[in-house]
C-alpha cells in the first residue's frame, strides 16, 4: 500500500530491477508506445499517431509505462536514442514484460517494476518522481502541490 507523508509526498513500492536513484518529472503513459514509428530516435519525441503523449519527449523524464507493443525491436529504439544522449532518467514499469525488460537493461537507468499498487492512480505527468531502483521505491511529489 502507498504511504502518504503529509499532503504532498506519496511512496509506492515495487521490485527494484536496476539499482540507483534518479529524479525527474513524470511522463505517464497508460497507453503503451509502439516499436516502429513509436519514438523518434533523434529527438526522443513520441511520434505514434494519436498516442496521448504524441509530441512529448522521453528525454530526462521518469517514464511510467504500462508495457511494450509492436515490433520485437522495441528496445532498439530506446537504445538508439540513448546512444544519442536521449533517455528517460528512470523507469517505472507497473508490470514487467519482455519488451520493456530489455529496454530497461539497454537504458541502464534506475528501474522499479511490478508495483504493489496501480501507479496510474497515483502519478500524473509533471509530478516530480524519485525512483530508487535499489530499494524498489517510487516517491511522488504531486505537481499540483508545488505551487
Amino acid at each position: 500500500m502507498g504511504k502518504v507523508m503529509g499532503m504532498e509526498t506519496i511512496v509506492i513500492r515495487g521490485r527494484g530491477a536496476i539499482p540507483g536513484i534518479a529524479s525527474g518529472p513524470a511522463m505517464v503513459c497508460r497507453e503503451t508506445i509502439q516499436g516502429w514509428s513509436g519514438i523518434d530516435e533523434t529527438t526522443g519525441k513520441v511520434i505514434e499517431k494519436g498516442h496521448p503523449a504524441e509530441g512529448q519527449t522521453i528525454s530526462d523524464v521518469v517514464l511510467v509505462l504500462s508495457g511494450g507493443k509492436g515490433s520485437n525491436g522495441w528496445s532498439s529504439h530506446f537504445h538508439a536514442a540513448r546512444i544519442r544522449g536521449i533517455s528517460p532518467c528512470a523507469l517505472v514499469l507497473p508490470k514487467i514484460d519482455s519488451r520493456t525488460g530489455v529496454a530497461a537493461v539497454v537504458c541502464g537507468v534506475p528501474t522499479v517494476v511490478d508495483l504493489q499498487e496501480d501507479p496510474f492512480k497515483v502519478i500524473e505527468s509533471g509530478d516530480l518522481v524519485t525512483v530508487d531502483g535499489t530499494s524498489g521505491t517510487v516517491t511522488i511529489r504531486k505537481a499540483s502541490h508545488d505551487g
Binding site: A17, Q34, E48, G68, G70, D97, S98, G101
Partner: protein, 421 residues
Amino acid sequence: MHLSEEELSILDGQGGPLKRKALEFIVNYATVLGADSLCRVSKAHLFCGAHHYLKAVRSKDMDEVMSEMWFCSPDKIPFDAVGCFSQSDCSPVDHLNWSKMGCCEDEFRENERYLDRCLKAGVHLVGSCVPYMTGFIPVRGEHYVTTESHAVLMMNSLWGACSNADGIEAAFCSAVCARTPLWGMHVPEGRKGTHLFSVTCKPETVEDWDLLGYAVGLRLPPHSIPILAGNVEGADMIRLKSCFAAMATTSGPELCHILGITPEAPTLAACISPSGLEDRVEIGPRQLREAREILCDKQAGEVNYISLGCPHYSIDQISEAATFLEGRKVHENVTLHIWTALPIKAVADRCGYTKTIEDAGGTLMVGSCPLVSERWPAGTRAMAFDSAKQAHYIKPLTSAKVFFGNAGECLQASISGKWGR
C-alpha cells in the same frame, strides 16, 4: 538466481569475451524480469544487416557498432560465433534488386559487409520475416528467440514453441550464449489465455484475417493473451501470418490461442488462466470495417507505389499474383514490388512466376520490405499495401497517401494507376 556450472564458467570468461558479455546481458535481463534461472535456446532468428538504427553509433568501425547495438558492449568485441542454429531476419537491402529499392552501391556493399560478418559467425543468410517457412520450425516446448514480432505469435501459437518478444539485443545475446531467461512464454503458467475474443464476423480472405488481427490488437491490454473463438475455422498459415502481423502491431501478445485449432487450446478450460478470464470481447463486421477505415486513406485517386508481401509472401501468394499479372502491364506511373524470402523466390524462378511478374513490369523482391528499409520510390505521392502492418507503421513516416486493401485491389491498382473501391 540459479546458474549452472557451465553458465558460471562462461561468466568467468571460459567461453571467450563475446560469450561472457552475451551471458552477462541475459543474466541482467533475467534479473529485471525476476526470473530464477535460464533455459537453453536452440534457435535464433536475428535482425542482421546495416539497419538504419545502427547509425546512432557514430563510427565506421563495424565491430564497434555491432558491439554496442547488438551486445550492449561499449568495448569492442567482434561477433565471431553463434552458439545455436541461427537465421537472419530481414535486412534493409535486397541483395539482388537493391538498385530498384533506390539503394546506391555503397549502401548495398555496407549491408553485405554486415551480413558477411553474420555469415562468418554462423548465421544462415535467409533474410526473411517468415523463418517458419524457410526451415526454422521449433517443436512444442522448444526454446528459441526471434526479432520478428509476428513470428513469435506464429511459432508459439501454432506449434507450442517458446519465445518471448524480447528484442534485438536479447536475441543476439541469446544466439551467442544459447540462453534466455526461464520466464514468460518459456514456462507453462505464463501461457494461459486472459481475454476471450468471440469472432462473430466471418473472416474468409487474407484481408479479413489481417483486419481481425488489427481489431483484436486494438482491444487487447498489455500483458494479455488472447483466445480467439467462434468463426475461426478458416484459419490457415497464410491467413494467420497476416492476422498475427497485424495483432502484433496494435498490441504486444506473444501467444494467441485459437479454440479447437492451436495445440494448447483444445478446450476453453485448457487454455484459460486459473484466475479466469479478464474480459470477453466480440469482434463483428463493424469492428473489421472500423479497422479498415483507420488503415486506408479515404480519398481515392492515383497511386504510384504498390507493395505486396508483408509478411513475406508464400509461393502460393506469389503464384496468385503472377496469375493475375499474366498478359497485363503495370501502369507506367506505378512501381510494383512483391516481397518474399530468397528460398521462396528460388521456387518462383523455377516455376516461372518471377518472369511473369517481371514481364508485367513488377519485381519480385527479397530479404527486406518498405518498413524495414524505410524506402519507397522517390516522389511517391500515394502508396498501397495489402498489409495492415505496413500501412499502420508507414503512415506516420510519410506525407504520401497510404491505402490498404486486399492483394486483388492492390494488383488492380498497379494496372490502372488508380485506387478506389
